[in-house]
Subunit: 251 residues, 2 copies
DNA sequence: TCAAAAGTGTTGATATTACACCCATGT
DNA sequence: ACATGGGTGTAATATCAACACTTTTGA
């Protein structure tokens, strides 16, 4: 049946209205490993269990606003406005789950978001919000509330696929970074080892990806590495790298 | 039926409840051109204007069920159950739009689905449902109600990207098809011309894509073509073609 | 026999991979 | 000096793109 509209500005009575949540898969690379942000739930259902940060969408806000608000409330982490654009942050919609069979309270729709961010510290536990912490994605087998294990797995798979053909790996790095740092991101996200020499050539040789800053970075042992930034004017989520940085190229 | 559990704890009062629609981007290839399914709206808002088939999600149904029901109601087209799997049909979630600024009646969330299907006839116009028709995607500039132009564009772009590295192009074909038919799908979806000889080698040479049936098809002029089917046991949405059938390879 | 479409062979250009080798710094 | 990581050169292999050529049918 077509949309039935009793009045020009009403929604049909037969249509259900659904509570809608946003849940955020926030990923970062720490200690050469991919980590996800989880919070410990203070309230029922699943009280005391770990879950993805998220919560109900409020009237009058967009889904992106709700995602940013929930992240900030639960982790004191402020997502820069317009993080869908360039820079060391990236927020994009993942997919929508529900409404049936995923929340003991009843039908709830959840719109999941994926956030890719450079490593950053979290405030010490003990605010009025639940404690937020980073957990290695390999350690999260079947431990999260609701269907959040599935959502996390989908988010990780999305990240793995996207860095292959988009400049999004740079979203895990600070504004200026070395090729080795970038390679560390690929190795952590894919869980593989990459040949440093070939990676360097591919990354620096792919048009529309990296731009040299001219400066040198790093104070560790060995020759200092050149610092790069993301090529100017590229939308990391729209740019397609050619040739791609192939996942198959792992040794 | 609605799974409304009286519940250990209820959804917080502060949380908004949103009407939720599903809208379907149904694509097919007809006359060597990519077409989308649209319906003419019988009711306000946007009465008389073309729109994607879709409508409100009812209590107790899943999003996929709602998408299939709306398609069937508005186009008399029955989506086979489990069309997310193998075969000449493919239904997948596209993304979620809203809730603000997209429906004059107020905040409405829309979960968009993408359906890839072989060409099929539509019932003659004049049922109690709105008339459904195929329109070439090139002809749909800014003509659809709501934000459906954007949703259609997103669906087309998803289809274009996916057939490059997945066997999903076969979802546009009947169960058995020739390499030329398959090439026609790529040409229509990408809007390019492909070299028939190189395409044949790539398509038949890519593991996990095509399986020869041994039979021959076609009664037209020229040498009869071998009939193929999708390789058995492949999930078209999960399989990754290697090497991919590159869009760049268009001549 | 001819037109049309299917399918194979071949070749130069480009990409990938593996690894030898040099460069620049801290200790 | 030497260890450590940064970065370049090069050669074997695979893939891509263009196109000559053969095969198999209908008219």
């Amino acid at each position: 049946m077509p949309r039935t509209t009793p009045a020009p500005s009403a929604v049909p009575e037969t249509a259900g209205a659904f509570p809608v949540t946003v849940d955020v898969v926030a990923l970062t690379v720490r200690d050469a490993e991919l980590h996800a942000l989880v919070v410990d739930r203070l309230l029922e259902p699943y009280r005391g269990q770990a879950a993805l940060p998220g919560g109900f969408v409020l009237p009058g806000e967009t889904l992106e606003q709700a995602a940013a608000r929930e992240l900030e409330e639960e982790t004191r982490l402020t997502v820069p406005a317009g993080a869908t654009g360039t820079g060391p942050w990236h927020l994009e919609q993942l997919r929508t789950y529900g409404p049936l069979g995923r929340d003991p309270r009843g039908p709830v729709l959840s719109v999941a978001y994926l956030l890719l961010a450079p490593a950053f510290g979290l405030p010490a536990a003990g605010g009025d919000a639940a404690e937020a912490r980073w957990v290695p994605v390999g350690d999260t087998r079947a431990g999260l509330a609701f269907d959040h294990d599935q959502i996390l797995a989908d988010g990780v798979e999305r990240a793995r696929a996207k860095i292959e053909y988009s400049p999004l790996a740079a979203a895990f790095c600070p504004p200026e970074f070395t090729v080795a740092e970038l390679r560390g991101v690929y190795e952590a996200v894919w869980g593989t080892r990459l040949d440093a020499r070939n990676f360097h050539r591919k990354a620096t040789g792919t048009p529309g990806f990296l731009e040299p800053t001219g400066r040198l970075g790093g104070g560790g042992p060995g020759r200092p590495a050149e610092l790069f930034r993301l090529a100017p004017g590229v939308d990391p989520s729209a740019t397609v790298l050619h040739p791609p940085l192939l996942r198959a190229g792992a040794s």
